[in-house]
């Protein structure tokens, strides 16, 4: 871990992504931007999972006859794949709902399109 990238940089990226995403989700009123915030949050969490399994100089975990050296952890990669698939379906569903909201109200501003209050 002495040469190459410091091990902490991916984690800093995760923190930055999650922070930016939470800021967007809490402060933006445009529905599309809100969905972008969720997509960034998801990217942050996925990056976190992948980084967990990363081993410096490791080989891909796809061999039956294992070559010498360390192997990258396969489980986080499987988790991330599942999480990406789920994320895509959630994004698609949210975007389709936004299309319907726009048809009904003619606006993407969450305050202006809001009907349910109290």
């Amino acid at each position: 871990m002495t040469q190459g990238i410091p091990f902490n940089i991916p984690f800093l990226a995760v923190a930055a992504l999650v922070g930016i995403a939470l800021y967007i989700i809490m402060s933006k009123r445009n529905l599309i931007k809100l969905v972008m915030g969720i997509a960034i949050l998801e990217a942050g969490v996925n990056l976190f999972l992948i980084t967990l399994g990363y081993r410096e100089g490791g080989v891909a975990p796809i061999y039956t006859d294992v070559p010498a050296g360390v192997m990258v952890l396969p489980v986080p990669q499987a988790l991330t794949l599942t999480s990406i698939v789920i994320g895509v379906s959630i994004l698609a569903l949210m975007l389709s709902m936004i299309v319907h909201t726009y048809r009904h109200t003619g606006t993407l501003d969450s305050e202006a399109s809001r009907k349910l209050k109290g």
Binding site: V18, I25, L31, L34, I38, L41, E42, V45, F48, L49, L52, L73, V75, P76, L79, T82, S83, I86, S89, I90, L93, M94, M97, I98, H100, T101, H104, T105, S113, R114, K115, L116, G118
Partner: protein, 522 residues
């Protein structure tokens, strides 16, 4: 029969899943066959849940390992940790399973007629069965990551169902809010799962609980998991989505989304009691759960009083009732490390809280259905524009009265029994909490008196002269829940001893759950 019991944990999840994707195909042949398929698959799942429950109460928890030569072999030969997908069904899981399947069955029967005029019914039933699959999988799984996957399945199908009637602008808005908070909540939970995986390289709940230390990373993970689940179960102050989503979802779906949020409450209990158990700082975490419970009770009921939309009002009551469950179980959690207090009142408080989950599923589900019945016939949810419906819809008004009395905790209804267990035991823990709980119950009664008075009594309004009682399938859906309420009101002792106590024991005895997986060395 034995084979069926052995394999029932996976069958209960797989049958609704298979039926979900068969419905569009069968629907092409005939709509009648599709309806029969939906009801038959749910009824079969209900049957399996009941025989599995009987076996669990008699012989203890079930571990089902996918792909193993024997389902009980959780740890394969040559390994020291469980690597396969494991379902672990104990008292509390099966308790939640009974609730989910029964309410879904009633809701599906109710929807048969309710959805008749809607387009895209194939997709409606597919999503409905996927929601059932998500709930059951979430409750039965023994693995943190699978918990996340099933949580997402129930969130996606729940949101799509809430927004199903896209011709209403508010339905889309309610569904959108639900999917946004679900996505954020689930990602928070996934992050916490990642943290735990980083510490222990394990995802199995039992195996994790076995080695759990209570360090800084684990505390962060616990905080994230708690926040994620509290968002999903609509505990105050993270409840903002619930009134919107419950108010706009189609009738049968509202009780199901409510039961799904109670499944997330189960997730919170599983994490606190089973995953962390004795290692965690019980008093602090217990008090956090208690405070969220009391806040939910109080804020929920005070917001409910001022509502004029009938389903929105009921949604706030749903938040308020969740508070009772959190209060009861929170007191149990707070005294978990103190065997004396646990025996004196902690167990009873937990019994009350858990009993309240099942009672509430029946009467809250029933009230949501009656609320939507009014909307179905009158085309409005505004209480100020209703009146005299008691004359036109006799069965609906009787069902409403039963539900309203039960939720207000009037003896002899089932709501009274569980609330009484909570009052009595919480009073010994902290008298002020019990007083707040009783006060909330009174305000609940007042609020439902208002609904009854404005919707069902009074003169018949001219525009609603010829409103008829709703069709049979909707009545049958409500009747199932009425029957459940009456049964639970008549035999509370029987229910507490046979169904609720095993659930409480399952939460308290962490070692049994751990042993179910780690004890199965080949």
């Amino acid at each position: 029969m034995d084979t069926l019991v052995t394999h029932s944990p996976i069958l209960i999840i797989a049958i609704p899943l298979l039926a979900a994707f068969l419905t569009p195909l069968v629907g092409r042949v005939s709509p009648k066959a599709r309806e029969a398929l939906v009801i038959a698959s749910l009824a079969f799942a209900e049957f399996l849940v009941i025989i599995l429950a009987k076996d669990i109460y008699a012989n203890g928890l079930h571990v089902y390992t996918l792909g193993a030569s024997l389902p009980e072999l959780a740890i394969p030969k040559g390994y020291i940790i469980p690597v396969r997908i494991i379902l672990e069904v104990d008292g509390i899981s099966i308790f939640m399973g009974i609730i989910s399947v029964t309410v879904s069955l009633a809701a599906a029967i109710y929807s048969l007629h309710f959805m008749k005029e809607e387009t895209g019914q194939d997709r409606f039933y597919t999503l409905l069965l996927l929601l059932v699959t998500g709930m059951l999988g979430f409750e039965f799984t023994g693995d943190l990551f699978n918990m996340f996957v099933f949580l997402e399945i129930l969130s996606i199908s729940g949101a799509a169902l809430a927004a199903f009637r896209v011709r209403f602008a508010d339905a889309v808005e309610g569904g959108f809010k639900y999917i946004v908070i679900s996505a954020v909540g689930a990602l928070i939970i996934l992050f916490a799962v990642g943290l735990l995986y980083a510490q222990y390289n394990l995802l199995n709940i039992a195996a994790l609980a076995d080695v759990m230390q209570y360090g800084t990373v684990e505390k962060i993970a616990l905080a994230l998991l708690t926040i994620g689940f509290i968002i999903k179960l609509a505990g105050v102050p993270l409840h903002m989505w619930a009134p919107d989503t419950y108010a706009v979802a189609p009738a049968g779906i509202t009780p199901m989304i409510y039961v799904a949020s109670q499944a997330c409450m189960y997730g919170l209990y599983r994490v606190c009691f089973t995953l962390y158990g004795i290692t965690l700082d019980q008093l602090t975490v217990g008090w956090i759960v208690i405070i969220i419970g009391v806040l939910s009770m109080f804020v929920g009921v005070t917001m409910a009083v001022i509502q004029t939309d009938v389903k929105r009002l009921m949604a706030y009551h749903a938040i308020s009732q969740s508070g009772y469950m959190l209060l009861g179980v929170g007191v149990g959690l707070a005294v978990l490390g103190d065997p004396e207090a646990l025996a004196a009142y902690g167990r009873q408080a937990m019994n009350g809280g858990i009993f309240h989950i099942i009672n509430n599923a029946w009467y809250k589900g029933l009230l949501f259905l009656t609320g939507e019945t009014l909307f179905f016939r009158l085309g409005t949810r505004d209480l100020n524009r209703m009146g005299g419906m008691g004359r036109n819809m006799k069965f609906t008004s009787i069902a409403f009265i039963i539900g309203a009395l039960a939720i207000s905790g009037i003896p002899p209804f089932n709501g009274f029994t569980s609330k009484w267990l909570i009052y009595e035991s919480v009073y010994q823990f902290n008298p002020i909490l019990a007083v707040i709980a009783m006060l909330v119950s009174l305000i609940t009664l007042a609020s439902f008196t208002k609904v009854f008075q404005s919707a069902f009594t009074g003169p018949r309004l001219p525009q609603y002269q010829d409103v008829k009682e709703v069709p049979k399938s909707m009545l049958v859906g409500m009747a199932i829940l009425v029957a459940a309420i009456i049964f639970f009101s008549l035999f509370p002792g029987l229910i507490v001893d046979n169904i609720v106590s095993p659930a409480t024991d399952a939460l308290i005895n962490q070692a049994t759950y751990i042993n179910g997986v780690t004890g199965a060395v080949p």
